[in-house]
Symmetry: C2
Subunit: 249 residues, 2 copies
DNA sequence: CCTTGTAAAATGTCTGACATTAGCTAGTAT
DNA sequence: ATACTAGCTAATGTCAGACATTTTACAAGG
């Protein structure tokens, strides 16, 4: 178990946590199963028990495992994972092949939340918020060529995060963390045709413009349009019922 | 600094973290200020460095402090706090006098999110979800008398959490954690007149009924009505601009 | 003035031992 | 036969001390 995993050259404490977390997130360890003991992990990765315990503490803090003295560590249900923890976002974004169900759940959330977020942003955004959006948009436009998918995705994340930031609400702002894994999954799946990119850019521009002009209703519609574009790029069939019923995309 | 804090009789590792966290959450330590050194905390609370380090690791994981080797620990900005972390929810719910700005921010979030959540719940709720809602509602009704505020609040939390659960979305479900600190703050501030309680119950009932009847639009309106009731009980003026500046509490 | 070296202070890590808890097993009394 | 208890084992939790690493401040020298 975990035999094919390797610790990166860095090898710091967070690196070990990331390796162990991805073993769970990739789905190779079923919920309810026993997680390896501390001693085994020490031998397997040739690190001290201290580091192993720190890594396991991170996994427990994000709800990936449950630890009980004398019993051991056990993998928890997906419903217990703290998807909104920034650590979790990093781990998810680094996955080679993220669980399609998770991608779907996060997308469904964004579909139901982001129009509202855009509406709030249109009501509250100030100059700095607009500057962030403009910068991110320019970055997306300048990296629209082939071979720049990675950088394009980063600017894409920055754009959407900018919308969350512009709400000026402490809770909504925290949720921008979800964007990275969602958008990374996007570029890993879609082939990003040139015309698709052009269309996506235009839809983003309309969100930015509506926020600038303080038009909440237009911002809501524009955000929805961006997400519809995202759905087709993700290969999610619009008419298949996602987690919830009937979003007539 | 922190002289008047005491470790509860339990004294476990999480207890120490809670004490330290509340020192920050109560606002006595300004953002950017230095947090006490590990050695000082060891002496102050008469615990080993190990426990202190575990507690500080929790504070760092929730974004309350930033730790750098050789430098020390520093209190982070409110905008960096992970309000959606379950640990944070527990700490916030245990505060005697939570920061009014935080209460307002969380309320503003709920006001913008919960109608949508109720709508999704109306589309996706199954029998188990309805049973949870009915149980919670019955609990609220049975604890409507005086002197039962604490238990009433718990059932209130269970009701709203049930709505989040009923969305059957992994992300929305995580957000139910925010409810406890929000509702605890509610009962600590409002005097809960008998007629106010009666009105609140009726509004909750309409949410439950709309979810049962699969009426998304009615659920949205009913959830909004509950939150308006909450606003007056919290002493928040409904027409003042919420998410942005101006906290005339 | 800038650079560099050095020392101090703080957190990070390692090690070994012991404490505590959960679960199992065997034994015993009713 | 069942139920309860004692004890054993294995796992995580805690402690104590030493050392490593990083940051910062300060002072000497160019």
């Amino acid at each position: 178990m975990l035999d094919d995993l390797a610790l990166p050259a860095d090898g710091g404490a967070p690196a070990l946590a990331a390796v162990l977390a991805r073993a769970i997130l990739s789905g190779r360890l079923p919920a309810g199963s026993d997680f390896p003991r501390e001693k085994d992990l020490c031998e397997r990765f040739a690190v001290s028990r201290n580091r192993v315990r720190n890594a396991l503490a991170s996994l427990a803090a994000t709800g990936l495992v449950e630890r009980t003295a004398g019993r051991g560590s056990r993998v928890r249900e997906v419903t217990d994972w703290h998807l909104l923890d920034p650590l979790m976002s990093d781990w998810l974004a680094g996955l080679e092949r993220p669980d399609p169900r998770l991608v779907r759940e996060i997308y469904a959330f964004r579909l139901s939340a982001e129009p509202q977020v855009a509406e709030l942003a249109a009501l509250a955004a100030d100059g700095r918020d607009l500057a962030r959006l403009e910068n991110a948009f320019a970055g997306m436009r300048d990296t629209a060529g082939p071979g720049l998918h990675q950088q394009h995705a980063e600017h894409d994340v920055a754009f959407h995060d900018g919308v969350y930031q512009a709400t000026h609400n402490l809770v909504w702002r925290q949720m921008g963390h979800l964007l990275r894994p969602s958008i990374i999954a996007l570029i890993q799946r879609s082939q990003h045709h040139a015309d698709s990119l052009e269309d996506s850019l235009e839809r983003h521009r309309r969100v930015m413009e509506a926020i600038r002009l303080r038009q909440p209703e237009a911002a809501r519609r524009a955000a929805l349009a961006v997400l519809e574009r995202t759905a087709t790029d993700l290969g999610l069939l619009p008419d298949s019922p996602l987690p919830t019923e009937g979003h007539p995309i």
